[in-house]
């Protein structure tokens, strides 16, 4: 029955599919949008990525409780917090209740001589003690005196007051009925820090479930509502959205294309056979990305869905263009394969540019498309003809073809109107030239505007840091980064004193370097010296030196006190701060010092950079996260524009090599360029700002459209275009439009952008190709 080459082809194909299936079964699928961030960033961008992946901000879940009344909300907040504090998945649950207040106080008070930057030899000299005692006595006279009176005999130099003053930087939400509430009092607030990183989406999902459960357990019959936001919550929501979108789109897309093909073919066999190249292509695409990148992104799968509409084209060409019997399949291969092969090559040339992208997400799309299209075309060419039954028939579409043929012959009449439309489109583009591109990285985010608004609201209410400005100190050991942090903190403190900054955080504030602690210990005089100094220092002050016996004892103990280690912070609320600000990655340590701007005053980045530069610390980096992410995105956009232009240039080069006729190549390129211009103008008119994925869409329009242009060119070369070929192009076009058109309805902005570009783009490419095709009169 089957010929030997046929049997070999089928066996190889099946083996290939099996191999793909094995690879895919071991593939890890991700929805982490950092795949759409660059691969080899600068040091600052690297930090941004680390921050996005597992920085302190990424572990934060902001919870709001709305509805019901204030007392109920506070009660729910306390009950939820109590339950969640017992859950090891959460590092901290903060709702304003003074859970760790006693331990925090004890840590500060017991280690005040190791922690306070005021501890210097001069501080314990006669003059230093005299000044410090005077200040403490003045404080006694003040309203706060009631709070510090009992500390005076043990802490006459006011170290505790100094430490508390330092920690008292951040604005905290108001307390209503003993729990944090928003400024307008309409919502109770909790700030929850998860143990898992924000990008561990499974763990974040479990954390969200635990929070929901705690909320329900706290008030089963309450009418209050729970709101959650934060980077981890966004990741979970994005994954859910991408997952549900991709699976829904794939199903609808397959059904839609199948219905379309069934209407055309009127044969289930043809339908099933027609999908074989598509399935092979999809499997090959996923397997190739998996091999090339180690994981496959959800967005790539979504894109793959749309590519179904493109890959199915090859079998449409085969079935529709070939005549009604089996020998004609060989004739089809002779007549049409070279054109289709060239079409595949142009598509590959376009996508190959994406492979060079420094952004793994784009490179994935490129690899997927190349592997998928090559496989689909190869299966159509080498395997499908051998699988067709002897009696294989599809519905005769010649009638449609003849009608199309008449239309096409008159299409040339539309040349001038088409040129007018093009000129109009160019005018629109010129007018919108400043607003065509969306240069905000947030454009890529699948998070809805409502969710972003909620996030902004809860953040403003809770005073959660937005971590825009940071100084990052890196080093080989914890001690090294703490030591350099102290030097940076010293500079930052002088900026605070000058009014440049409202405040800053530093891990060294809670855990000073061993060197500083040792230096502070060394500043403490021995008992005899201190006693002499004290006796002189009290002169002229209304106190007797004898009052300070407890002080002498405490200083004596501090001189030989064990130095503070990270573990001494356990069970205090400062432990969380230190863990968030002091990060260890393999044998590399980083300390983060987030800066807080004064209300209504922007941070003066050059002033801070200049102040830091005086330290000559190579390992201390001032980072503006927003500026970095914007720079990163605009780099991303510029690179993608260059790559796309490179893709177009490669396509033109390829055509020039094949045809050796610039005029002929121009004929092929003109309808494609026209389609791209018209679509872009249309998007601008509808107020859609272009982002990276629109650009990829335009590249696809060129890749797909080149097939149409090639068919028109080819037929013009020998004779009038065959009605059958025209019909096949229409069907191929419809399936592509169906596949990508569906994406336009997606609410994942990345997918939607491709949809709204490709679907109208390929229709226009076909129409322009017909209009600008060479006629007998040319």
């Amino acid at each position: 029955m089957k010929t030997l080459p046929g049997r070999i082809a089928i066996t190889l194909w099946l083996g290939f599919l099996l191999a793909c299936a094995v690879i895919i079964s071991r593939t890890h699928f991700t929805t982490d949008l950092s795949a759409f961030l660059p691969r080899s960033p600068t040091a600052e961008q690297q930090l941004l990525l680390e921050q996005i992946r597992d920085g302190l901000a990424s572990r934060l879940i902001l919870v709001g409780i709305e509805g019901s009344d204030a007392a109920t909300r506070a009660d729910l907040s306390k009950k939820m917090a109590q339950r969640l504090r017992a859950d090891p998945a959460f590092v901290s649950v903060n709702n304003g209740e003074p859970v760790n207040a006693e331990r925090d106080r004890a840590y500060l008070f017991n280690h005040r001589y190791l922690l306070s930057p005021a501890v210097t030899p001069a501080h314990f000299g006669v003059a230093g003690l005299h000044a410090a005692l005077g200040d403490s006595i003045d404080l006694l006279a003040s309203p706060a005196g009631l709070l510090v009176k009992s500390m005076l005999p043990r802490d006459p130099t006011g170290e505790m007051v100094q430490l508390l003053g330092q920690l008292n930087g951040g604005a905290q939400p108001e307390l209503i009925d003993g729990a944090w509430a928003s400024g307008d009092g309409a919502r109770a607030l909790l700030l929850i820090q998860t143990r898992a990183a924000g990008t561990d989406i499974d763990a974040q999902q479990r954390a969200m479930a635990a929070i929901r459960l705690a909320f329900r357990a706290a008030g089963e019959y309450s009418t209050a509502r729970l709101e959650m936001t934060g980077p981890g919550v966004f990741s979970v929501q994005s994954r859910d959205t991408i997952k549900s979108q991709v699976s829904r789109l794939s199903i609808i897309s397959v059904l839609l294309i199948a219905t379309l093909l069934l209407l055309v073919y009127r044969s289930f066999t043809a339908l099933l056979l027609g999908f074989l190249p598509v399935i092979s292509g999809a499997l090959a695409g996923i397997a190739a990305v998996s091999l090339g990148f180690g994981s496959v992104h959800g967005i790539t799968l979504g894109f793959g869905t749309a590519l179904i509409g493109e890959a199915v084209d090859y079998s449409i060409y085969l079935f529709v263009q070939s005549e009604q019997n089996a020998t004609d399949k060989q004739a089809w291969i002779k007549r049409f394969w070279p054109t289709i092969r060239l079409g595949v090559l142009t598509s590959i040339a376009g996508f190959a540019a994406l492979l060079l992208s420094g952004f793994p997400g784009l490179a994935q799309l490129g690899l997927y498309a190349i592997a998928g299209l090559i496989t689909a075309a190869a299966v159509t060419r080498y395997v499908l003809p051998h699988l067709l039954p002897r009696t294989f028939r599809i519905h005769d579409v010649s009638a449609i073809g003849r009608t199309l043929s008449q239309l096409v012959q008159r299409a040339a009449l539309l040349r001038w109107p088409a040129i007018a439309v093009l000129l109009l489109a160019l005018l629109v583009l010129f007018q919108h030239r400043d607003s065509i591109w969306n240069d905000k990285i947030s454009a890529l985010s699948p998070v809805s505007k409502t969710d972003l608004a909620l996030d902004a609201k809860l953040r403003a209410d809770s005073g959660a840091p937005d971590v825009r400005y940071l100084v990052v100190v890196s080093g080989a050991t914890q001690e090294a980064v703490l030591r350099d942090s102290e030097r940076v903190a010293h500079v930052l403190q002088s900026l605070v004193d000058q009014g440049e900054l409202a405040g800053f955080e530093s891990p060294s504030r809670y855990l000073p370097s061993q060197a500083s602690q040792r230096a502070r210990q060394a500043s403490l005089p021995d008992a005899a010296t201190l006693q002499t100094h004290l006796a002189q220092a009290v002169q002229g002050l209304p106190v007797k030196a004898a009052l300070f016996a407890p002080f002498l004892a405490d200083v004596g103990a501090a001189r030989t006190q064990a130095l503070l280690q990270r573990k001494d912070l356990d069970q205090t609320s400062m432990a969380m701060a230190v863990d968030a600000l002091l990060i260890q990655q393999a044998d590399h340590w980083s300390a983060l010092l987030p800066l807080t701007a004064r209300p209504g005053v922007a941070i003066n980045a050059p002033a801070i950079r200049a102040a830091l530069a005086q330290l000559h610390l190579q390992n201390a980096l001032f980072v503006d996260m927003k500026a970095e992410s914007d720079r990163l995105y605009s780099g991303y956009l510029n690179e993608a524009i260059l790559l796309s232009l490179g893709g177009v240039a490669t396509i033109i080069g390829l055509l020039l090599v094949v045809f050796r006729s610039p005029v002929r190549v121009a004929r092929i390129i003109v309808p494609l360029a026209a389609a791209v211009i018209t679509v872009t103008a249309g998007l601008a008119l509808f107020g859609q700002q272009l982002m990276i994925l629109h650009l990829i869409g335009l590249l696809l329009v060129v890749a797909v459209g080149s097939n149409y242009a090639l068919f028109f060119d080819r037929s013009a070369a020998d004779a009038a275009i065959a009605p059958r070929t025209l019909a096949s192009m229409l069907f191929a076009n419809l399936t592509t439009v169906a596949g990508f058109g569906l994406l336009a309805f997606s609410n994942v902005s990345i997918l939607q952008a491709m949809g709204v570009t490709v679907a109208p783009g390929v229709i226009l490419a076909l129409i322009y190709a017909a209009i600008f095709a060479r006629t007998d009169h040319d």
């Binding site: 003045d138 006694l140 006279a141 003040s142 709070l147 009176k149 307390l175 209304p542 106190v543």
Partner: protein, 196 residues
Amino acid sequence: MPRFIRPLLIALSLILSGALPVISHAADWDIDRLMQGLAQTRTGHARFVETKKIAMLDQPIESSGELFYTAPDTLEKRTLKPKPETMRVEGDKLVIERGRQKYRLQLQDYPELAAFIDSIRGTLAGNRKALEQAYQLSLEGSASAWTLQLVPLNAKMKQIVARIRISGVRDEVRSIDVDQADGDSSQMRIEKLSPP
């Protein structure tokens, strides 16, 4: 006693005593009257001199400055000497500004301070109910020279404050004396200023 008999008895006693205006006041004078009078004042501005006697210190420390009050719960104490310092209470929020430092505290985190501040605010606002939640009240003297004594009810509070004595003339507070449980004390003399 039936309602109408009481005024009758008072009238009788007045005639008998022959000192009508003064006694009329004294007999009618009670905490409710005082509170009503005090509640009339919606805003106030005064100068203060405070003397604190602290056992740890050999001599009393004196501070002075200005007080601002806006009914019902905003109180600002602006100390000018010996060191400028501002304490402002509004509802449950307490802000202390001292030099460059600015402390924001929630009153309920500091129950001792809260009780103390509430005694002054409650008196200025004429809010008997609020005062009686934390203190046992007793009134001495007449409308023209009264002294309201507040003794804490709460055991924890009693460990800090023994009693607070607020004296005044009609609806004006003239002094606030606090005796702390440990023997320390403070006296604050208040002199009304024209509204700012």
